[in-house]
Symmetry: C2
Subunit: 204 residues, 2 copies
Protein backbone atom coordinates (compact mmCIF):
# COMPACT_ATOMS: atom_id res chain seq x y z
CA UNK A 1 0.00 0.00 0.00
CA UNK A 2 2.99 2.27 -0.27
CA UNK A 3 3.62 2.63 -3.94
CA UNK A 4 0.17 3.04 -5.42
CA UNK A 5 -0.28 5.58 -8.15
CA UNK A 6 -0.83 8.28 -5.67
CA UNK A 7 -3.13 11.09 -6.76
CA UNK A 8 -2.39 12.38 -3.35
CA UNK A 9 1.35 12.67 -3.61
CA UNK A 10 1.06 15.33 -6.25
CA UNK A 11 -1.18 17.34 -3.97
CA UNK A 12 1.08 16.67 -1.04
CA UNK A 13 4.02 18.12 -2.93
CA UNK A 14 1.98 21.08 -4.08
CA UNK A 15 0.94 21.84 -0.52
CA UNK A 16 4.50 21.75 0.72
CA UNK A 17 5.65 23.86 -2.22
CA UNK A 18 2.87 26.34 -1.63
CA UNK A 19 3.84 26.78 1.97
CA UNK A 20 7.52 27.30 1.20
CA UNK A 21 7.12 29.43 -1.91
CA UNK A 22 4.51 31.65 -0.34
CA UNK A 23 6.58 32.43 2.69
CA UNK A 24 10.01 32.68 1.04
CA UNK A 25 9.31 33.52 -2.58
CA UNK A 26 10.78 31.87 -5.64
CA UNK A 27 14.33 33.00 -4.95
CA UNK A 28 14.32 32.22 -1.27
CA UNK A 29 12.75 28.79 -1.57
CA UNK A 30 14.93 25.67 -1.64
CA UNK A 31 13.94 22.45 -3.35
CA UNK A 32 15.39 20.47 -0.46
CA UNK A 33 13.22 22.35 2.01
CA UNK A 34 10.13 21.64 -0.05
CA UNK A 35 11.05 17.98 -0.26
CA UNK A 36 11.58 17.81 3.49
CA UNK A 37 8.25 19.47 4.16
CA UNK A 38 6.52 17.05 1.80
CA UNK A 39 8.32 14.18 3.49
CA UNK A 40 9.86 12.88 0.27
CA UNK A 41 13.10 12.63 -1.61
CA UNK A 42 14.28 15.65 -3.54
CA UNK A 43 14.36 13.64 -6.75
CA UNK A 44 10.63 13.09 -6.42
CA UNK A 45 10.00 16.77 -6.87
CA UNK A 46 11.64 16.55 -10.26
CA UNK A 47 9.78 13.38 -11.07
CA UNK A 48 6.38 15.04 -10.56
CA UNK A 49 7.21 18.60 -11.57
CA UNK A 50 10.17 18.74 -13.88
CA UNK A 51 11.86 21.81 -12.50
CA UNK A 52 11.71 24.41 -9.78
CA UNK A 53 10.25 26.83 -12.29
CA UNK A 54 7.39 24.50 -13.21
CA UNK A 55 6.65 23.66 -9.60
CA UNK A 56 6.60 27.34 -8.86
CA UNK A 57 4.24 28.05 -11.71
CA UNK A 58 1.88 25.36 -10.50
CA UNK A 59 1.82 26.96 -7.08
CA UNK A 60 1.37 30.42 -8.50
CA UNK A 61 -1.50 29.52 -10.77
CA UNK A 62 -3.15 27.69 -7.93
CA UNK A 63 -2.83 30.72 -5.68
CA UNK A 64 -4.11 33.05 -8.32
CA UNK A 65 -7.11 30.89 -9.04
CA UNK A 66 -8.07 31.18 -5.38
CA UNK A 67 -7.95 34.94 -5.48
CA UNK A 68 -9.73 35.55 -8.77
CA UNK A 69 -13.22 34.33 -7.78
CA UNK A 70 -13.17 36.61 -4.76
CA UNK A 71 -12.59 39.59 -6.98
CA UNK A 72 -15.12 38.57 -9.55
CA UNK A 73 -17.71 38.81 -6.82
CA UNK A 74 -17.31 42.59 -6.69
CA UNK A 75 -17.60 42.96 -10.38
CA UNK A 76 -20.04 40.54 -11.89
CA UNK A 77 -22.93 40.66 -9.57
CA UNK A 78 -26.15 42.58 -9.91
CA UNK A 79 -26.40 44.08 -6.46
CA UNK A 80 -25.92 47.82 -5.96
CA UNK A 81 -22.43 49.22 -5.65
CA UNK A 82 -23.02 49.89 -1.97
CA UNK A 83 -24.12 46.38 -1.24
CA UNK A 84 -21.28 44.91 -3.24
CA UNK A 85 -18.71 47.01 -1.45
CA UNK A 86 -20.08 45.92 1.92
CA UNK A 87 -20.16 42.27 1.00
CA UNK A 88 -16.80 42.21 -0.66
CA UNK A 89 -15.00 43.98 2.15
CA UNK A 90 -16.30 41.68 4.80
CA UNK A 91 -15.81 38.53 2.74
CA UNK A 92 -12.42 39.43 1.45
CA UNK A 93 -10.97 40.22 4.84
CA UNK A 94 -12.22 36.89 6.16
CA UNK A 95 -10.81 35.14 3.15
CA UNK A 96 -7.34 36.62 3.43
CA UNK A 97 -7.20 36.05 7.15
CA UNK A 98 -7.18 32.38 6.23
CA UNK A 99 -4.59 32.76 3.48
CA UNK A 100 -2.35 35.42 4.92
CA UNK A 101 0.60 34.94 2.57
CA UNK A 102 -1.51 34.95 -0.58
CA UNK A 103 -1.69 38.60 -1.59
CA UNK A 104 1.89 39.35 -0.78
CA UNK A 105 3.06 36.29 -2.67
CA UNK A 106 1.15 37.21 -5.80
CA UNK A 107 2.16 40.84 -5.72
CA UNK A 108 5.77 40.08 -5.03
CA UNK A 109 6.16 37.48 -7.75
CA UNK A 110 4.36 39.62 -10.29
CA UNK A 111 6.79 42.41 -9.55
CA UNK A 112 9.70 40.06 -9.96
CA UNK A 113 8.37 38.87 -13.28
CA UNK A 114 5.72 41.18 -14.76
CA UNK A 115 5.50 39.24 -18.03
CA UNK A 116 3.96 36.46 -15.99
CA UNK A 117 0.62 38.17 -15.95
CA UNK A 118 0.35 37.98 -19.71
CA UNK A 119 -0.18 34.25 -19.45
CA UNK A 120 -2.91 34.86 -16.88
CA UNK A 121 -4.71 37.45 -18.95
CA UNK A 122 -5.18 34.87 -21.70
CA UNK A 123 -7.46 32.96 -19.39
CA UNK A 124 -11.00 33.60 -20.64
CA UNK A 125 -12.43 34.13 -17.17
CA UNK A 126 -9.76 36.58 -16.20
CA UNK A 127 -11.08 39.51 -14.24
CA UNK A 128 -12.88 42.02 -16.41
CA UNK A 129 -13.95 45.49 -15.34
CA UNK A 130 -16.43 46.14 -18.15
CA UNK A 131 -19.58 45.29 -16.28
CA UNK A 132 -18.47 47.11 -13.16
CA UNK A 133 -17.65 50.14 -15.28
CA UNK A 134 -21.15 50.27 -16.73
CA UNK A 135 -22.69 49.91 -13.31
CA UNK A 136 -20.60 52.70 -11.79
CA UNK A 137 -21.46 55.00 -14.68
CA UNK A 138 -25.15 54.24 -14.25
CA UNK A 139 -25.19 54.89 -10.53
CA UNK A 140 -23.27 58.11 -11.07
CA UNK A 141 -25.79 59.20 -13.67
CA UNK A 142 -28.72 58.33 -11.46
CA UNK A 143 -27.16 60.37 -8.70
CA UNK A 144 -26.80 57.41 -6.36
CA UNK A 145 -23.07 57.91 -6.05
CA UNK A 146 -20.81 60.88 -6.64
CA UNK A 147 -18.77 61.06 -9.85
CA UNK A 148 -15.80 58.69 -9.79
CA UNK A 149 -14.18 56.55 -12.43
CA UNK A 150 -14.70 52.82 -12.09
CA UNK A 151 -10.97 52.23 -12.28
CA UNK A 152 -10.19 54.59 -9.42
CA UNK A 153 -12.97 53.17 -7.30
CA UNK A 154 -11.76 49.66 -8.00
CA UNK A 155 -8.19 50.56 -7.08
CA UNK A 156 -9.41 52.17 -3.88
CA UNK A 157 -11.39 49.10 -2.89
CA UNK A 158 -8.45 46.84 -3.58
CA UNK A 159 -6.02 49.11 -1.78
CA UNK A 160 -8.08 49.48 1.37
CA UNK A 161 -8.73 45.77 1.59
CA UNK A 162 -5.43 44.25 0.58
CA UNK A 163 -2.81 46.70 1.77
CA UNK A 164 -3.21 46.04 5.50
CA UNK A 165 -2.20 42.43 4.88
CA UNK A 166 0.63 43.17 2.51
CA UNK A 167 2.19 45.81 4.72
CA UNK A 168 1.41 44.15 8.01
CA UNK A 169 4.88 44.38 9.60
CA UNK A 170 5.25 48.00 8.61
CA UNK A 171 1.80 49.00 9.82
CA UNK A 172 2.21 47.05 13.03
CA UNK A 173 5.31 49.07 13.75
CA UNK A 174 3.74 52.39 12.83
CA UNK A 175 0.55 51.85 14.77
CA UNK A 176 2.56 50.33 17.58
CA UNK A 177 0.36 47.26 17.87
CA UNK A 178 1.21 43.66 18.66
CA UNK A 179 -0.12 40.71 16.74
CA UNK A 180 -3.41 40.41 18.55
CA UNK A 181 -4.12 44.14 18.56
CA UNK A 182 -3.40 44.26 14.86
CA UNK A 183 -5.72 41.34 14.29
CA UNK A 184 -8.42 43.37 16.02
CA UNK A 185 -7.71 46.38 13.82
CA UNK A 186 -8.17 44.16 10.79
CA UNK A 187 -11.33 42.66 12.19
CA UNK A 188 -12.75 46.15 12.71
CA UNK A 189 -12.02 46.93 9.09
CA UNK A 190 -14.64 44.46 7.93
CA UNK A 191 -17.22 47.19 8.47
CA UNK A 192 -14.93 50.18 8.85
CA UNK A 193 -13.59 50.01 5.30
CA UNK A 194 -17.01 49.62 3.73
CA UNK A 195 -18.30 52.62 5.69
CA UNK A 196 -15.27 54.62 4.66
CA UNK A 197 -15.86 53.89 0.99
CA UNK A 198 -19.62 54.38 1.08
CA UNK A 199 -19.30 57.63 3.00
CA UNK A 200 -17.00 58.88 0.34
CA UNK A 201 -19.01 58.01 -2.74
CA UNK A 202 -22.65 58.05 -1.69
CA UNK A 203 -24.57 61.10 -2.75
CA UNK A 204 -26.06 63.00 0.15
Amino acid sequence: MKKTKDENKEKQILDAAKSIFQSKGMDGARMQEIADKAGINKAMLHYYYRSKQLLFEAVFKNAFSLLAPQLNAVLNDDASIESKVRNFTSNYISFIAEHPYLPNFIIQELNRNPEFIIKLKDNPNFLNLDKFKVQVEQEVEKGIIKPISAEQLFINIMALNIFPFVAKPLLMAFTNTDNSAYKQLIEDRKTEVADFIINSIKHT
Copy 2:
Protein backbone atom coordinates in the same frame (compact mmCIF):
# COMPACT_ATOMS: atom_id res chain seq x y z
CA MET B 1 44.45 59.92 -9.44
CA LYS B 2 42.99 56.48 -9.43
CA LYS B 3 43.63 55.08 -6.02
CA THR B 4 42.84 57.95 -3.68
CA LYS B 5 40.83 57.22 -0.60
CA ASP B 6 37.62 57.51 -2.42
CA GLU B 7 34.68 58.73 -0.39
CA ASN B 8 32.87 58.28 -3.60
CA LYS B 9 33.51 54.61 -4.10
CA GLU B 10 31.49 53.74 -1.05
CA LYS B 11 28.56 55.71 -2.44
CA GLN B 12 29.08 54.20 -5.86
CA ILE B 13 28.81 50.72 -4.40
CA LEU B 14 25.78 51.68 -2.37
CA ASP B 15 24.04 53.03 -5.45
CA ALA B 16 24.70 49.87 -7.42
CA ALA B 17 23.61 47.74 -4.48
CA LYS B 18 20.47 49.80 -4.05
CA SER B 19 19.52 49.34 -7.66
CA ILE B 20 20.05 45.58 -7.62
CA PHE B 21 18.60 44.89 -4.18
CA GLN B 22 15.55 47.02 -4.78
CA SER B 23 14.66 45.34 -8.02
CA LYS B 24 15.57 41.74 -7.11
CA GLY B 25 15.37 41.61 -3.33
CA MET B 26 17.93 40.16 -0.96
CA ASP B 27 17.53 36.59 -2.19
CA GLY B 28 17.49 37.40 -5.87
CA ALA B 29 20.44 39.77 -5.80
CA ARG B 30 23.93 38.54 -6.69
CA MET B 31 27.11 40.06 -5.35
CA GLN B 32 28.71 39.69 -8.78
CA GLU B 33 25.90 41.63 -10.38
CA ILE B 34 26.27 44.44 -7.88
CA ALA B 35 30.02 44.52 -8.48
CA ASP B 36 29.50 44.66 -12.23
CA LYS B 37 27.01 47.47 -11.91
CA ALA B 38 29.38 49.39 -9.68
CA GLY B 39 32.18 48.71 -12.17
CA ILE B 40 34.45 47.10 -9.61
CA ASN B 41 35.83 43.79 -8.51
CA LYS B 42 33.66 41.56 -6.40
CA ALA B 43 36.29 41.51 -3.67
CA MET B 44 35.88 45.26 -3.29
CA LEU B 45 32.33 44.79 -2.09
CA HIS B 46 33.63 42.75 0.78
CA TYR B 47 36.39 45.23 1.42
CA TYR B 48 33.93 48.09 1.92
CA TYR B 49 30.96 46.18 3.32
CA ARG B 50 32.03 42.96 4.95
CA SER B 51 29.18 40.75 3.79
CA LYS B 52 26.09 40.62 1.63
CA GLN B 53 24.01 40.95 4.76
CA LEU B 54 25.74 44.14 5.86
CA LEU B 55 25.59 45.65 2.40
CA PHE B 56 21.93 44.81 2.30
CA GLU B 57 21.31 46.41 5.66
CA ALA B 58 23.06 49.56 4.55
CA VAL B 59 20.79 49.74 1.52
CA PHE B 60 17.71 49.01 3.55
CA LYS B 61 18.37 51.60 6.21
CA ASN B 62 19.13 54.12 3.52
CA ALA B 63 15.85 53.36 1.77
CA PHE B 64 13.89 53.52 4.97
CA SER B 65 15.41 56.85 5.94
CA LEU B 66 14.14 58.25 2.66
CA LEU B 67 10.62 57.12 3.36
CA ALA B 68 10.32 58.12 6.98
CA PRO B 69 10.47 61.93 6.58
CA GLN B 70 7.69 61.74 4.02
CA LEU B 71 5.45 60.03 6.52
CA ASN B 72 6.37 62.30 9.37
CA ALA B 73 4.97 65.13 7.30
CA VAL B 74 1.46 63.74 7.71
CA LEU B 75 1.81 63.33 11.39
CA ASN B 76 3.86 66.06 12.98
CA ASP B 77 2.57 69.16 11.36
CA ASP B 78 0.08 71.64 12.67
CA ALA B 79 -2.11 72.03 9.63
CA SER B 80 -5.65 70.67 9.64
CA ILE B 81 -6.24 67.03 8.84
CA GLU B 82 -7.78 67.98 5.53
CA SER B 83 -4.86 70.11 4.49
CA LYS B 84 -2.37 67.46 5.58
CA VAL B 85 -4.17 64.77 3.66
CA ARG B 86 -4.15 66.89 0.52
CA ASN B 87 -0.51 67.79 0.83
CA PHE B 88 0.67 64.35 1.71
CA THR B 89 -1.19 62.62 -1.07
CA SER B 90 0.15 64.91 -3.73
CA ASN B 91 3.69 64.96 -2.37
CA TYR B 92 3.89 61.29 -1.68
CA ILE B 93 2.76 60.24 -5.12
CA SER B 94 5.35 62.53 -6.68
CA PHE B 95 7.98 61.19 -4.36
CA ILE B 96 7.31 57.54 -5.11
CA ALA B 97 7.10 58.16 -8.82
CA GLU B 98 10.80 58.97 -8.52
CA HIS B 99 11.59 55.96 -6.35
CA PRO B 100 9.27 53.36 -7.77
CA TYR B 101 10.92 50.31 -6.22
CA LEU B 102 11.08 51.78 -2.74
CA PRO B 103 7.78 50.82 -1.13
CA ASN B 104 7.75 47.35 -2.55
CA PHE B 105 11.32 46.77 -1.46
CA ILE B 106 10.66 47.82 2.10
CA ILE B 107 7.43 45.89 2.39
CA GLN B 108 8.85 42.77 0.85
CA GLU B 109 11.96 42.66 2.95
CA LEU B 110 10.05 43.37 6.13
CA ASN B 111 7.81 40.45 5.37
CA ARG B 112 10.82 38.25 4.76
CA ASN B 113 12.32 39.29 8.04
CA PRO B 114 9.82 40.93 10.41
CA GLU B 115 12.30 41.13 13.29
CA PHE B 116 14.15 43.67 11.21
CA ILE B 117 11.75 46.40 12.15
CA ILE B 118 12.64 46.09 15.80
CA LYS B 119 16.02 47.65 15.06
CA LEU B 120 14.27 50.48 13.27
CA LYS B 121 11.83 51.16 16.07
CA ASP B 122 14.74 51.86 18.39
CA ASN B 123 15.56 54.91 16.34
CA PRO B 124 14.37 57.91 18.40
CA ASN B 125 12.82 59.68 15.42
CA PHE B 126 10.92 56.63 14.33
CA LEU B 127 7.41 57.43 13.20
CA ASN B 128 5.07 58.12 16.06
CA LEU B 129 1.31 58.38 15.81
CA ASP B 130 0.68 60.11 19.14
CA LYS B 131 0.38 63.63 17.87
CA PHE B 132 -1.74 62.59 14.91
CA LYS B 133 -3.99 60.68 17.27
CA VAL B 134 -4.62 63.71 19.42
CA GLN B 135 -5.35 65.83 16.39
CA VAL B 136 -7.82 63.34 14.95
CA GLU B 137 -9.61 63.10 18.27
CA GLN B 138 -9.82 66.85 18.52
CA GLU B 139 -11.22 67.32 15.04
CA VAL B 140 -13.73 64.56 15.68
CA GLU B 141 -14.80 66.23 18.91
CA LYS B 142 -15.12 69.63 17.25
CA GLY B 143 -17.28 68.05 14.59
CA ILE B 144 -14.87 68.87 11.78
CA ILE B 145 -14.56 65.23 10.78
CA LYS B 146 -16.73 62.20 11.35
CA PRO B 147 -15.75 59.70 14.04
CA ILE B 148 -12.84 57.51 12.98
CA SER B 149 -9.85 56.12 14.83
CA ALA B 150 -6.52 57.67 14.01
CA GLU B 151 -5.05 54.24 13.30
CA GLN B 152 -7.71 53.34 10.78
CA LEU B 153 -7.45 56.70 9.09
CA PHE B 154 -3.71 56.38 8.94
CA ILE B 155 -3.91 52.89 7.45
CA ASN B 156 -6.40 54.14 4.87
CA ILE B 157 -4.16 57.01 3.85
CA MET B 158 -1.18 54.69 3.52
CA ALA B 159 -3.14 52.09 1.64
CA LEU B 160 -4.64 54.45 -0.90
CA ASN B 161 -1.31 56.09 -1.58
CA ILE B 162 1.12 53.20 -1.53
CA PHE B 163 -0.84 50.25 -2.85
CA PRO B 164 -1.10 51.41 -6.45
CA PHE B 165 2.70 51.32 -6.66
CA VAL B 166 3.15 48.05 -4.85
CA ALA B 167 0.53 46.21 -6.87
CA LYS B 168 1.25 47.92 -10.15
CA PRO B 169 1.49 44.82 -12.38
CA LEU B 170 -1.66 43.35 -10.90
CA LEU B 171 -3.66 46.56 -11.19
CA MET B 172 -2.40 47.20 -14.68
CA ALA B 173 -3.73 43.83 -15.69
CA PHE B 174 -7.06 44.29 -13.94
CA THR B 175 -7.69 47.78 -15.24
CA ASN B 176 -6.36 46.73 -18.61
CA THR B 177 -4.02 49.69 -18.93
CA ASP B 178 -0.58 49.97 -20.46
CA ASN B 179 2.31 51.73 -18.80
CA SER B 180 1.44 55.21 -19.91
CA ALA B 181 -2.26 54.89 -19.16
CA TYR B 182 -1.43 53.59 -15.72
CA LYS B 183 0.92 56.47 -15.17
CA GLN B 184 -1.98 58.78 -15.95
CA LEU B 185 -4.22 56.94 -13.48
CA ILE B 186 -1.59 57.49 -10.82
CA GLU B 187 -1.19 61.13 -11.75
CA ASP B 188 -4.94 61.62 -11.38
CA ARG B 189 -4.75 60.13 -7.92
CA LYS B 190 -2.76 63.09 -6.64
CA THR B 191 -6.07 64.90 -6.19
CA GLU B 192 -8.46 61.97 -6.57
CA VAL B 193 -7.25 60.18 -3.43
CA ALA B 194 -7.34 63.28 -1.28
CA ASP B 195 -10.89 64.01 -2.40
CA PHE B 196 -11.87 60.44 -1.72
CA ILE B 197 -10.56 60.60 1.82
CA ILE B 198 -11.90 64.06 2.59
CA ASN B 199 -15.32 63.20 1.20
CA SER B 200 -15.41 60.24 3.50
CA ILE B 201 -14.41 61.90 6.74
CA LYS B 202 -15.50 65.53 6.51
CA HIS B 203 -18.61 66.36 8.41
CA THR B 204 -21.36 67.78 6.24
